[in-house]
């Protein structure tokens, strides 16, 4: 998925929405071939047509990442999204489990993830004689700092930057679509509502106002 396209997914509420949202997923049409993992599947209570149910069955029980890889993903996830004064961490929101599932559902993430984790471990082995997960926190943060800032990263670290970008994006996807993450963002929709326009204090804040025509013609609720 290319980033330019994927940004579109978040922007476009509902309008021509789909067309844009869909653009980032063209690559996901391949069947989940020989991936080996994952427990979570169908998503209970979601309407599925027969073909989707059959596909969900093929995902059942598949596991891709090794326990060592999952441990590394968990550490990195909590570095990217740690607990803070507002909300919990990536692992609190079960982001590692989400990533474990999504690479089964979207096999195109498998090689970049596996290879990126291996790249990271090799860096650590060369520097600290240990794979990433067994390094000290300080060592871990040293290497993370070299791949977390694309504008500042050294040329020899670009593969690591690309891996960390993907991981950051997957972690954000997993976290902000969890119950913890949605609450953190303060998203207040997805409930029956009566849309009465932008709150007055917000209009004032931005020096905006509805026209008389709008106030007369638009639906309002008292």
């Amino acid at each position: 998925m290319d980033r330019r396209k994927s940004i579109k997914t978040l922007v476009v509420g509902s309008m021509a929405a789909g067309v844009l949202a869909e653009a980032c997923k063209q690559a996901d049409n391949k069947p989940a071939e020989a991936a080996e993992t994952a427990k979570e599947t169908a998503g209970t209570g979601i309407n599925r047509m027969a073909e989707e149910k059959a596909y969900a069955k093929t995902l059942e029980g598949k596991v891709f990442f090794t326990p060592e890889e999952m441990a590394t993903i968990t550490i990195l996830g909590d570095i990217i999204i740690p607990r803070d004064e507002v909300s919990g961490s990536a692992s609190d929101a079960k982001v590692p489990e989400f990533i474990g599932f999504i690479v089964i559902d979207m096999p195109e993430h498998q090689t970049p993830m596996r290879g990126g984790l291996r790249w990271l471990d090799l860096q650590c082995l060369n520097r600290y004689s240990k794979p990433f997960k067994d390094c000290t926190h300080q060592q871990q943060m040293e290497i993370v700092d070299e791949i977390a800032w694309p504008a500042k990263a050294k040329p020899e670290m670009t593969q690591g930057v690309a891996f960390f970008n993907l991981l950051r994006n997957l972690v954000a996807s997993g976290f902000y679509t969890s119950e913890i993450g949605v609450k953190d963002l303060g998203y207040m929709g997805n409930v029956p509502n009566q849309w009465n326009g932008v709150p007055d204090e917000v209009l004032k804040q931005y020096n905006l106002a509805y026209t008389e025509k709008e106030l007369k013609e638009c639906i309002s609720f008292s």
Partner: protein, 579 residues
């Protein structure tokens, strides 16, 4: 499977309809309510939004967090079964054609998830050749179809405002919702650039219109289909009510193979595959109505060869499949820095934009024909897979409250960045009119069949300078609007001549039309002005096929109006024993 045999239904219907979307659904509704005995074939399964919608699900209820699959290209909660690819149902391309073909397989078809943008064609839209010499005029004008628009507005419900615009006719509107915050930013910026912004016109019930349907409760999820029938879908508003008349037999999972004809060349029914038992069936009627979608209906006609119709049914003109065209499309989006760390509230609104821009310029002063409208998006939408994707390239643009947001990052600072950016993004999408051309077409692939053994479509389409220059103009407009509101473009702003200014592949906008066009001259058009085949008087087409041109308006409202008009013509013709 047992022995393969053809099962012939003994019941003789007044009408056999193929397809249950806007066109077929409206035909079923009108004919069944008139007391005719109707059989409706749908290639997919039953779908009732009341029980089957994924409305009000939370993102974590999907294991892929709402990401798309090949089964639901618009996301895991979307209200449409299938999309660009269907297992076992290929289509092919000729030359370097990029055509993308969306196909729904379910009761109600694509109307379960469409954008509900319900625009009337204007007087000029029916007479474009007379204005710019390109394409063809319709055999009908706005005055012929206006009464049907009026009735559909009232029957199905659409909000909007009467603006007195010459080519964007007034309607019978429910009150629109007030603009959201980003839409007020857009209105201010666009108006400053001379681009009008008016309330959108969507078939969503801001007020209740009858007892069968509830009113909108502003969850912004029309794309998932509505459990209270608060928006228009052919399933909830046409076919399900038609079933209640007792005059309609619905056959789901019925994949039409061909239109059957008799020695006189008249249509006698449809042969189809039942996807449940994989047996072959035939169903008979006094009339046959195709609403399978512009391309599927063309495919059916081209696959229905007989001694009387050796070139395919209703195709003595050799025009079936030709003049295929989709809306043009180009997009751009970005972030409004003024909205960083904005106050939270529920701004879901209706499922779609509250404002839009109708075409506003005079082509005489431009280097391309025909126009486009602009759709707008943005705001606090429900997070889903892909949320804030791309922080590695994005956050260095901002200086927030004295803190420079640096690209990439991690940790507590990154969490603050995600929060700050939530609800700051906007998107603009131009949707314009392409020219229908004889050399942009679909045809039967001579070698490839689908898993039912039905020959498939092969596409041969292209764009010309007309469409490319339109896309260029869209991009210039978008850039100016973004600039005026102090927004930062993040995508779609780097397109140029090397990629046709980001012009979408044809088919991608999913407004395909023109394959079975209407016209007064049987040598150049398969259908007459009532969407009745010149070569086969008891055969009708009610989807996007009959469109001579498609305006810069989304075509659904016009499909509905034409289908209602054609259906009433069928009733008259049957009553008068003309067919």
């Amino acid at each position: 499977m047992g022995d393969l045999q053809i099962k012939k239904q003994s019941k003789q219907y007044d009408a056999v309809i193929v397809g249950s979307g806007a066109g077929g659904g409206m035909a079923a509704y009108v004919l069944a309510h008139a007391g005719l005995k109707v059989c409706l074939l749908e290639a997919g399964p039953m779908f009732d939004p009341k029980t089957d919608s994924n409305q009000l699900k939370n993102p974590w209820e999907s294991p892929r967090r709402g990401a798309s699959t090949k089964f639901r290209p618009f996301g895991d909660f979307d209200g449409c079964y299938w999309g660009w690819e269907i297992d076992g149902e290929p289509y092919t391309h000729k030359n370097d054609t990029k055509w993308e073909w969306w196909r729904a397989r379910m009761l109600g078809g694509r109307t379960n998830h469409w954008g509900r943008i319900s625009l009337r064609f204007g007087p000029k839209d029916f007479k474009r050749k007379s204005i710019d010499g390109l394409g063809e005029d319709w055999p009908i004008g706005y005055e012929d179809i206006k009464p049907y628009y009026d009735r559909i507005d009232q029957l199905l419900g659409v909000f909007g405002t009467n603006e007195g615009l010459p080519n964007d006719p007034d309607g019978i509107f429910l009150p629109p919702p007030k603009p959201r915050l980003h839409e007020l930013f857009i209105r201010k910026a666009a108006t400053g650039a001379g681009v009008p912004v008016i309330p959108s016109r969507l078939s969503i019930l801001t007020k209740q219109i009858n007892k069968e349907r509830g009113n909108c409760f502003f969850c912004a999820q029309c794309g998932r289909s509505c459990k209270v029938y608060g928006d228009f879908s052919a399933s909830s508003c046409l076919v399900i009510p038609a079933l209640k008349t007792g005059n309609l037999d619905l056959v789901t999972n019925a994949m039409a193979r061909e239109v059957l004809t008799n020695k006189e060349g008249l249509a006698t029914g449809i042969s189809y595959v039942n996807k449940d038992d994989m047996q072959e069936y035939q169903v008979y009627g006094r009339t046959v109505v195709l609403g399978a979608s512009a391309c599927e209906s063309a495919r059916l006609l081209l696959n229905s060869k007989s001694p009387r119709h050796p070139n395919g049914l209703a195709n003595s003109s050799n025009v079936v499949g030709k003049y295929l065209h989709d809306s043009t499309g180009a997009d751009m989006g970005g972030v409004i820095p003024a909205l960083l760390d904005r106050k939270r509230y529920n701004e879901d609104g209706v499922g779609g934009m509250h404002v839009y821009t109708p075409w506003w310029l005079d082509n005489k002063k431009l280097d391309f024909p025909r126009g486009y409208h602009i759709e707008y998006g943005g705001g606090f939408s429900q997070p889903s897979y892909g949320f804030s994707w791309g922080m590695e390239e994005l956050s260095d643009y901002f200086n927030l409250k004295g803190r420079s947001m640096e690209a990439g990052g991690y940790g507590a600072t990154l969490k603050k960045d995600y929060r700050a950016l939530f609800g700051t993004r906007i998107a603009m999408a131009g949707r314009g009119e392409a020219i229908a051309r004889e050399d942009s077409y679909c045809e039967i692939d001579p070698e490839v069949v689908d898993k039912y053994g039905i020959p498939v479509l092969r596409f041969n389409t292209s764009y010309t300078d007309h469409e490319i220059k339109q896309a260029k103009h869209m991009k210039e407009t978008f850039a100016e609007i973004l600039h005026n509101m102090g927004a930062i473009a993040l995508w779609g702003h780097k397109d140029g001549p090397e990629n046709n200014y980001g012009l979408h592949a044809p088919g991608n906008i999913i407004h395909e039309a023109g394959t079975v066009r209407m016209g007064n001259d049987p040598r150049h058009s398969p259908l007459n002005k009532f969407c009745q085949a010149h070569d086969c008087k008891n055969l009708f087409v009610v989807d996007g096929g009959p469109f001579v041109s498609q305006a810069d308006k989304n075509i659904t409202w016009t499909i509905l109006a034409l289908s209602m008009r054609t259906s009433e013509h069928i009733i008259d013709e049957l009553k008068n024993n003309h067919i």
